[in-house]
């Protein structure tokens, strides 16, 4: 009978409920849309930061400017300072070690390559290298972590083998001599006796200078150039917090408490500072600052979306309160009659509460689907691609709808249950 009463109330007396329902649908539509877009923003931010790869460049302090023409470094090999490969494990000992997602050393070496018949840059690096960390563990890293956007055709060299990967432009220039599976011979100069055979395992395109070079395991480049255990540049991929005014402060000007807070925030500046502490004598530069600002804007957009969500839910709650107060007033005779024939306050409350919950579920479900549609549209206009519906939000949104309906309906429903039937039924 309970269900029948509620059902008939919906089927035959929908007028008042439509208003409450409309309030819920609107609120939930906006909330769903903003939550969906906020999730999308979060995902995109995470993805963007992840695909970002390296965002810090570590070089020896006051290194000479590279003399690079057509992708070939014409600096004498001996010029400038080098960094020690043995120091790299220390990066995983800094305070923000878990935010160091990867790092890759680079050593550019001018070399004589048989297949090109001339000077070609060899770039020694890691693809997926195991680094010993001072705490006894190991950490696997290399360009796989710091340069995820590099496209490889074939496969990468393995760091311990006599293998190499050739830049796409270079490979295109020597289609006969350079191809996957062929062996090329490299040496420091044409006259060197230390000639090394390297099997080409892949062709890489980076959209950068590497396209005109040959990438080899770091140890090979070190051997050819006689710089064992050394390298010149380090790309670090660190998970950082978008910079704010506080991030830009000079750590020397901070009070000890401020310093702690700064040190314990994963700003690019504080991570750079910590890198300099473990590897002295280096410059640390942030790269890809464009993405940084973009991230800052996205995180502001996301904050804004949460505020809009909250505002929409509060507005819906107020509208529910107003419409259900009106509905309850209109139905007070009905409440009086129910009490006259024996209904307790509890049973009246239960009936009205169930109506509200039903409204919340229907309104929430409708709002979810409308909101998903709105999110597609918003996503398309904000990101250029529609934000896909998140079904994980459905239970969340239904829960919010119930919360809004109950909180909004609380005061009117309590008043309804306590209506004194006598004056109502007098019909005065």
């Amino acid at each position: 009978m309970f269900a029948r009463i509620v059902g008939q109330s919906f089927a035959r007396n929908p007028r008042r409920k439509l208003l409450t329902m409309a309030a819920l649908v609107l609120g939930i539509t906006v909330a769903t849309a903003t939550l969906t877009v906020a999730l999308e923003v979060g995902d995109r931010m995470a993805r963007e930061f992840r695909s970002l790869g390296a965002n810090l460049l570590v070089t020896p302090e006051s290194d000479t400017l590279p003399l690079e023409i057509g992708g070939v470094d014409y600096r004498p090999v001996d010029e400038g300072a080098y960094l020690q490969e043995a120091d790299l494990g220390k990066l995983k000992t800094i305070f923000w070690r878990h935010n160091i997602l990867g790092f890759t050393p680079f050593l550019d070496v001018p070399a004589y390559v048989s297949a090109t018949g001339g000077a070609t840059t060899l770039i020694g690096t890691w693809y997926d290298h195991e680094v010993a960390v001072p705490d006894g563990t190991t950490f696997k890293t290399g360009v796989s972590a710091t340069h995820p956007w590099w496209k490889i055709q074939g496969r990468w060299f393995s760091d311990a083998a006599n293998e190499c990967v050739v830049g796409a432009s270079l490979a295109a220039k020597y289609p006969g001599a350079i191809a996957i599976g062929k062996t090329i011979y490299v040496a420091q100069t044409e006259k060197s006796s230390d000639i090394r055979p390297l099997v080409v395992t892949g062709i890489v395109s980076t959209g950068d200078a590497e396209d005109n070079a040959i990438l080899v395991p770091l140890s090979v480049a070190q051997g050819i150039s006689n710089h064992p255990g050394q390298f010149r540049q380090l790309f670090v991929s660190a998970l950082t917090k978008p910079a704010d005014a506080f991030a830009e402060r000079d750590p020397k000007s901070l009070t000890p408490t401020e310093y702690d807070r700064w040190f314990c925030s994963p700003y690019i500046s504080s991570i750079s500072y910590q890198i300099k502490q473990v590897i002295p004598g280096v410059d640390v530069r942030a790269i890809r600052r464009v993405a940084e600002t973009e991230g800052r804007i996205l995180s502001r957009v996301s904050t804004l979306l949460w505020i809009v969500t909250l505002a929409a839910l509060i507005a819906a709650g107020l509208a529910v309160a107003a419409t259900s107060a009106a509905a309850v007033l209109e139905r007070r005779v009905e409440i009086g009659v129910m009490k006259a024939i024996g209904a307790t306050n509890t049973s009246v409350t239960a009936l009205f509460l169930t109506e509200h919950l039903t409204l919340a579920l229907i309104g929430g479900a409708i709002g979810f689907f409308l909101g998903a549609g709105l999110a597609r549209f918003l996503g398309a206009s904000v990101f250029g691609t529609p934000a896909s519906p998140r079904f994980i939000l459905l239970p969340v949104v239904l829960g919010l709808a119930i919360l809004v309906a109950l909180i909004g309906g609380l005061i009117p429903l309590r008043r309804a249950a306590r209506f004194d039937p006598a004056p109502i039924l007098r019909g005065e």
Binding site: I5, I341, G342, T344, N345, L425, G427
Partner: protein, 223 residues
């Protein structure tokens, strides 16, 4: 045998109005009482207190051994469900429930529903072919008959009817009065408020109220 209704020195004061000012009387089981008096004399207040819709300021109102003044809110709800059948001047059916569902609503708040019994009650008031109609689709007289069926469905000790024919035309008034007469003949105890002397005469006894006090009490002429 103890009287079914026993009222002693009943008083009810609203903010600044003394609606009942020391009323006492008894009603035996099976009696049909007409409560009469001018507008504002306290008739509805009296009925409401007897039916547990309102509580007296002082005095006692004992119905079937229960002093309604002593009941709390839930006690009053139980009392109304089990002992009282109300019939109002404005019918007061739930507009979105059919005739049948309106009767079953009273069963639901009393205990459990029994559709067969509810249909039977509607048949008893001559509405067999109107059970699935909504109140809006029924005439005033038909609505009041649904209300009578609803009042009867839980076998109440006391039927309280506040001007049950006040909103009806003469033909429907006749039908409802005939029903009350039948109920009385079956042994139901009825307290009925009315303005019309002609209707009052149908009852066993008249209780006249004036300014919240008992004016006269005289045995009505038996019809």
């Amino acid at each position: 045998m103890a009287p079914l209704v026993q009222i002693e020195n009943l008083r009810k004061e609203f903010a600044n109005v003394r609606a009942l000012d020391g009323v006492s009387f008894v009603v035996q089981a099976g009696e049909w009482i007409a409560i009469m008096g001018p507008s504002g004399s306290g008739k509805t207040t009296l009925i409401n207190i007897l039916g547990g819709l309102d509580t007296p300021t002082s005095g006692r109102a004992i119905v079937d051994g229960t002093d309604v003044a002593r009941l709390d809110e839930n006690g009053l709800a139980r009392f109304r469900a089990e002992k009282i059948g109300f019939v109002f001047q404005q019918f007061h059916l739930v507009p979105y429930l059919t005739a049948l569902e309106n009767v079953m609503l009273a069963q639901y708040f009393h205990s459990t529903t029994d559709e067969g019994e509810a249909r039977e009650a509607l048949g008893r008031v001559g509405l067999t072919d109107r059970v699935e109609h909504l109140p809006g689709q029924l005439s005033g007289g038909e609505q009041q008959r649904v209300a009578v069926a609803r009042a009867l469905i839980n076998h109440p000790k006391l039927i309280l009817a506040d001007e049950p024919t006040g909103n009806l035309d003469e033909a429907n008034e006749g039908i409802v009065l005939k029903l009350l007469r039948e109920l009385h003949a079956e042994g139901h105890t009825i307290l009925m408020v009315t303005h019309a002397a002609s209707i009052g005469q149908l009852a066993d006894r008249r209780i006249d109220l004036a300014h919240g006090r008992l004016a006269t009490e005289h045995a009505a002429r038996r019809v």
